[in-house]
Amino acid sequence: MKLALIGQPNCGKSTIFNQLAGYKSISANFPGATVSYTIGKFYFQNKSIELVDLPGTYSLSWYDDAEKESVKALSSMDFDCIINVLDASTITRGLELTLELISLNKPMVVALNMMDEAKKKGIDIDIAKLEDSIGVKVVPVIAKQAKGIKDLINAALKASPPIKKCIYSKRIESLIQNLEQCLENQAGNLILPPKLIAIKSIEGFSACEEIVSWYPKCQNLLEATRVLLNNGVEITKERHALCLEIFEYSAKVKDSQGLPLSEKIDEILLHPIWGYVSLFLIFIAIFFIVFKGGSPFESLIDKFFSFTEDYLSKNIHNAFLLSIIKGTVDGIGAAIGIALPYLVPFFVILSVLEDSGYLSRIAFLMDSLMHKIGVHGTSVIPFIMGYGCSVPAVMATRIIKGKREKFISAFLATLVPCAAKTTVIMGLVAFFIGPIYAILLYLLNLIVIGIAGVILKKFLPGINPEILFDIPPYRTPTIKTTIVKTWYRIKDFVYVAIPLLVSGSIVLALIDYFNFAKYVNFVFMPFMELLGLPISVGIVLIFGIFKKELTLLMLAQALGLNSIAMVSQVLTVEQIFVFTIFVMFYIPCLATISTLYREIRLKGTIIITLSSVLIATILAFITHSLFLIV
């Protein structure tokens, strides 16, 4: 049994998915949180059920890459039933997609989600009447509270194709049918159902128009039909009118009293002055929490690991064995002791930002500023996610329309210091020189991103499509989701980081043992001279390509020190700065490079990778020179 969850952006597909298949799909309160499909399995009444969570799409004609993913999956995977998730609080718009799905003529149920929010808005929906007017079984659910989910799956298992197939007026329906039949006769296997291609090509959706153009007979018919239907606008208008009709027939709207709470909040948070003041204060608060929140834990964990290391060096006498074991302990220590104290508060905040609906509002506030660097407000989402990890940040660029803008967003998002780079900044600059300098590095980073954006905007031809998205309502993030989301992100980090850190340490120990490092370092010698770093650091930067935290850990090992805490005995303040700045900008890690390749292809990936090394070198060299002058 294979079920698909499909619906408009931000209607709660992933929340339903997570309730059923365990927390696998990132849910958040902004349109486009899910950018690729997620498959989950669960058992229901002793039956194994496969559930696919598709990225949100407003209609079956895609506009951005995330939506294309959805439509492609919908037509290529063989689903036993389509679960159309419908946000009850914006039901008129959601019905547009429902009507399109009905034309697919597959077994289908409607999950009417967010019944509670609709009620708050004063919308009261009569389920029986709604079922009657669309000819599809409707199940009311409140996904966040797991209400109605069992009924939904029960209905999905018993679902049948929609009863009402004819939804347009007779005239339009017969014109659609003519084209549909032509496609059926002329073409064999089409990637989409012929009826859908017919409707979408008449409406002028280019991907479907292209399919029709392969068959000259149908092409002629399409052109004639489009003239008759005012370039397809009549279909759009009729579908919209139908949605309104269904809404009026099946729902009652009570006037809500006074200004709703969300309007009152927006009055401040989106205010021309107070909006920016609040934004500034919120970011100051976030910085403060991330920088200060974890430090008590850090010193505690640190003590534990330095004690363990002392104990080990006293009791193990085989030098080779000791370096491997210590490498392992160091690796685990770096992941737990340095990364976690900052990552846990950061991921909690990120989750709250995502789920409250504020992220989209930042996009609104920052739009005109972002235009200066060649992107628009929506790119705020990948940028902020970039502070966590570059991989989801680059994936989030899927919600950005326009190749040029997507490239610039991906480029700039990879320059944002991710959690791993933060580990290095915290472990070196904040620890040895002072937290205030770490904050200055973050500011430097923002300035560099700004300058890079201005340069990219200047040198890449083309204009950007403007900002266009729907703003989600405010929602209170639930404690459960926040904890679970943070836990999964931390788990991902630790699971990937620890094995890499440990194996990195072992490889380095081996290299050291066989005296191989000098060859690698020899190649990098001129480079290290240029930046005024010790020659032995060269090999460390190679490891950084796999995972950025490795650079911090390897640094101590490469310099022949017992622990990271001793780095300041060998490196000067200048060298720490130069090293950290270089690591902050140079080459995205392998996982990011492969994600870049998937999103923006080879050429863009090469440009971003090489530019990042160039930017890092220039900045590190400037820093080095500045210290020479001062």
């Binding site: 919209h240 739009d367 329309k401 403007e466």
Partner: protein
Amino acid sequence: MRLIDCEVFQEVRVVGFDAGCRSKERLLQLGIIPGAILKIKRLAPFSGPLIVSIEGSDVVLGRGIAKKIIVEKV
């Protein structure tokens, strides 16, 4: 009249779009279609985008797009 020329909170009806409007498909999907009634709720400063309210949801759109939406007073 263009949407960009409207006063904040003034209710207007969408008449059509300029030929050069490349965002038309998305506008239609978001419910901004000929005949629909909408109003501007908020303008971002520094010639930033605007928020329009349409059928109970809020849509953010850039000023360039608002220039290309033809509307009439209700």
